[in-house]
């Protein structure tokens, strides 16, 4: 187990180095590059590395009062876990919810999905089905159009993991 963690963090580091090198070659900042390429979302890394890579050191406020994270507390089948995220915030061109990330802390690929919304959505709501490898915290991270980051999380107990290998 200890061995696999080392290998995983090593892979994560390699991935970040790769992205940084590629970004350097193109003359764009590493963060912009990472956000522009969907493949760069899906690195095998720890959740700390993933959050650091995507959000840098930006402060995150507790948004549990605004974010409604609907996910079953016990998932019998980790291969299909329905998640709905609803944010109680205005959706007008002046102030809207720009991005919603769903993060599963203990997955090998912790950043699960990034949803980018426009004010035309009328309501900050997204839902999807995700895989969970084991019992883990699932977080929703919400970025508003003024750059504020809000987060909320819930624990899900997983009976049978859905991430294989």
């Amino acid at each position: 187990m200890a061995e696999s963690i080392t290998r995983r963090s090593a892979l994560g580091t390699l991935g970040v180095v790769g992205v940084t090198l590629a970004a350097g070659a193109l003359g764009t900042p590493a963060t912009a590059r990472a956000q522009a390429s969907p493949q760069a979302l899906g690195l095998q890394e720890t959740v700390q590395d993933g959050l650091k890579r995507v959000f840098g050191g930006r402060p995150m406020k507790d948004g549990s009062a605004l974010i409604k994270l609907e996910i079953p507390p016990i998932a019998e089948n980790g291969a299909v876990v329905p998640v709905n995220v609803e944010v109680n915030a205005p959706m007008t061109p002046a102030s809207y919810v720009k991005t919603i990330w769903i993060v599963a802390d203990k997955n090998r690929i912790p950043i699960v999905v990034r949803a980018t919304l426009t004010p035309d959505a009328g309501q900050a709501f997204v839902g999807t089905h995700i895989r969970l490898g084991e019992t883990t915290d699932v977080r929703a991270v919400v970025e508003q159009s003024d750059g504020t980051l809000l987060t909320a999380k819930r624990e899900v107990k997983v009976t049978v993991g859905g991430c294989g290998g």
Binding site: S4, P38, G42, V113, G122, Q123, H129
Partner: protein, 111 residues
Amino acid sequence: MAGDIGKIRIRVPSNAKAGDVIRVRCLVIHPMERIERDAQGKIVDRNYNYITRVTATYLGKPVAVFDLTQSVSENPAFSFALKATAPGPVTVTFVDTHGGKYESRADIAFA
């Protein structure tokens, strides 16, 4: 099963009224391949076929874009909201890592 890849179902409410915020649900048949490991636990290096991007537009304007990783389930379903201002099409496009592009539309009609 393989022949069904890219089959899409979109569900929109049938009794929407102008100005309502409605929720749209869509589902696509896709394997969303997981990372495989060999007997030594090494990752098998190949081009895994999974969807990386889902784009939803309404009346030609984007409403929601999803960027996915392999942590999303097989045959994934997505829901999003939109403000129904006029009757018209909702289009959802899926793009996978093997160059597959699947698109489907549903029409919003007012009751």
